[in-house]
């Protein structure tokens, strides 16, 4: 029983990381129908920015977190402007390949500068473990939960209450109509990339802190799994991404806890395929019938 609860806690922590990355995926997909494969690498860049800020400039953790988020939102906007915007009206595969190219570029440019070996992420504050019975809740778990839920609340506010959020929803619903209504589509897409990238950066910093180790290829698997989380929840649907992330995180933690950690990576894909076959638009997705 304690083991189960312990794994649940680990799973929720991991799941909220997936959720943060998945939110960026789902927002970008919702607005330009692109699987932004470079998104996982923005998460990696975020982790490295915070790493340098903390270990070289000795900034406190939260300052590093915020600067990393700002830096990555800028990076996200630049990537969109340079690599995706010119291809907006092309075959979607072209943009997908470009996204893969950008992903390689970020990974290997980073690797060129910091070398491939993992770096130890500086522990920037003391750990307190709360023990209830045999269940240990570390302050890292709590911090991850607090930060990621705060960010999700802020995102919900932005999307539902602000003008930018309204234009984001309008553009993802119908780009041409939104443009005719006077919405600056380019600006809105940039804003989407900025917000999504900053969430990914936050996830990167949190993971660095949680596992204490970062490397240039750390974004590949979490990026892919976050995308799966977005698909599971229903891609393009913001609560779906958070929901999918938590489902995936908890499932993985339970599988590892049951002693099948070798199969952990396959579990995400099995869940994905089952969902796609049973309900192709994801758990929260609506079925759309093609008009004939």
């Amino acid at each position: 029983m304690e083991i189960l609860i312990q794994q649940l806690i680990n799973g929720i922590a991991l799941g909220s990381i997936y959720a943060l990355i998945a939110l960026g995926y789902t927002m970008v997909y919702g607005i330009i129908q692109l699987i932004n494969f470079a998104h996982g690498d923005i998460y990696m860049v975020g982790a490295f920015v915070a790493f340098f800020l903390i270990s070289i400039f000795h900034l406190p953790f939260f300052a590093a977190l915020i600067i990393a988020m700002l830096a990555c939102s800028l990076l996200g906007v630049i990537i969109e402007r340079v690599a995706y915007k010119p291809l907006r009206n092309q075959n979607r595969l072209t943009a997908l390949i470009t996204a893969i190219g950008v992903s390689f570029f970020l990974e290997y440019t980073m690797m060129y500068f910091v070398k491939p070996d993992p770096r130890a992420f500086p522990a920037s504050f003391k750990l307190h473990n709360i023990t209830i019975g045999n269940v240990v809740i570390s302050s890292k778990d709590i911090l991850i939960l607090i930060i990621s839920f705060t960010l999700m609340l802020i995102l919900t506010y932005i999307v539902n209450r602000t003008k930018t959020g309204k234009s984001m929803r309008a553009v993802s619903f119908d780009k041409d109509a939104a443009q005719l209504m006077g919405i600056d589509v380019n600006k809105t897409i940039s804003a989407t990339f900025a917000i999504g990238s900053s969430l990914a950066a936050a996830a990167g910093v949190l993971v660095g802190m949680y596992y204490g180790q970062i490397d240039p290829l750390m974004g590949i698997m979490p990026g892919l799994k976050a995308f799966i989380a977005a698909v599971i929840g229903g891609i393009g649907i913001i609560p779906g991404a958070a929901f999918g992330g938590l489902i995936l995180g908890v499932t993985e933690a339970l599988v590892s806890g049951a002693g099948y950690s070798m199969l952990r990576d396959a579990v995400a894909f099995v869940v994905l395929i089952l969902i796609l076959i049973i309900k192709p638009t994801g758990i929260l997705g609506k079925n759309i019938r093609e008009k004939v």
Binding site: A83, T94, T98, Y108, Y112, M262, V270, P280
Partner: protein, 336 residues
């Protein structure tokens, strides 16, 4: 219906085909002797091992790119699990030759067939999905194959399967590559290929014109998987050891990149892109640290400036050399 088809004009009608055949045979023979080594006037000439390896890789890349193009470019189904089929073929053929003592040819065929069966098993449930959903589902299937292989001790688990006898040589590579390209070319220039293209163009219209779209999607997927499996067999018997992690989704990306770079639906485009990228990779071996950086920049630049790929959907044919403007005999001539 037309006199051109009579035997007298056989040579004229088939000029491009004959030229290509002669050209290929020449390439085969020259490289055959060069790789084996030959002596002229006391000097021994032999292609060094490293270049030989890259020529082999070029052949394998062509097989994989062309077979993936059949699925992605011709039938329009975005599949990202090609490396998974390659893995299935590699492991099956290696088990056949290593553990069962079967001949190489049987191993390759078995690798291809098992991969093809996997293609059908994976294709039937997933090919109902469209676009990005299909992409991510096939990517998932590829990864599942990899994780399953890691967990099978019989084939060495994560540390891999070795020692695999080195049986791949230039003759195998050359004839299988040419055979694959010819197979796919003949397939797409037939009523079956047209059926696949119609599914790509408009699945609903194709269905109402009597095309069973599931059947043709699965067929393309199955053929694609078969050739990926055979290429996997060639790969395994060239490198002494294979590990499941060699066949991760990045490998699938590599081939998708070749297909899109060459132009979706263009066979000659796939061949050119597969060969070209092999050469680019070779040239970048001197700067190992920057290799992937340059590769990714090349990729982004080509996509930005040639979004339809190098060849678009067109084929490089002899008509650009004004040798023969008409396509082969299957097209016939009009009645008016």
């Amino acid at each position: 219906m037309n006199d051109q088809n009579k035997s007298g004009s056989f040579w004229k009608r088939n000029t491009p085909g004959i030229l290509v055949a002669v050209g290929l045979l020449a390439v085969y023979l020259i490289l055959h002797f060069w790789i084996q080594g030959f002596e002229i006037g006391g000097n021994k000439y032999q292609l060094n091992k490293y270049y030989t390896l890259n020529i082999y890789l070029m052949g394998m890349n062509i097989i994989l790119a062309v077979s993936l193009n059949l699925v992605c470019g011709i039938t329009g189904q975005l599949a990202l699990g090609h490396a998974g089929f390659m893995a299935v073929g590699a492991y099956t053929s290696a088990v056949c030759t290593m553990k069962l003592g079967l001949p190489f040819a049987v191993g390759l065929l078995a690798g291809g067939l098992v991969a093809a069966v996997m293609g059908i098993i994976i294709g039937l449930p997933t090919l109902r999905l469209k676009g990005d959903y299909l992409a991510i589902a096939t990517l998932g299937m590829g990864e599942i194959i990899r994780v399953i292989l890691i967990n099978i001790d019989y084939v060495g688990g994560a540390s891999g399967l070795s020692p695999i006898p080195k049986l791949t040589n230039w003759t195998w590579i050359f004839f299988i590559t040419v055979g694959t390209v010819l197979f796919v070319k003949n397939f797409i220039n037939s009523t079956y290929g047209r059926a696949c293209i119609s599914v790509r163009e408009d699945e609903i219209a194709a269905e109402t014109m009597g095309i069973n779209s599931t059947r043709y999607k699965t067929m393309a997927f199955c053929f694609g998987a078969f050739f990926a499996g055979v290429a996997g067999g060639l790969y395994a018997h060239n490198f002494f050891i294979i590990q499941p992690n060699l066949f991760n989704f990045f490998k699938s990306f590599e081939y998708l990149v070749m297909v899109v770079l060459g132009g979706l639906g263009s066979l000659t485009g796939s061949v050119l892109a597969a060969s070209g990228l092999t050469v680019v990779n070779l040239a970048l071996q001197n700067v190992p640290d920057l290799r992937m950086v340059v590769y990714s920049l090349v990729l982004i630049t080509v996509m930005l400036f040639r979004p339809g790929g190098l060849m678009g959907t067109k084929e490089l044919t002899f008509s650009i050399f004004k040798l023969n403007k008409k396509r082969g005999g299957d097209r016939g001539t009009s009645g008016n």
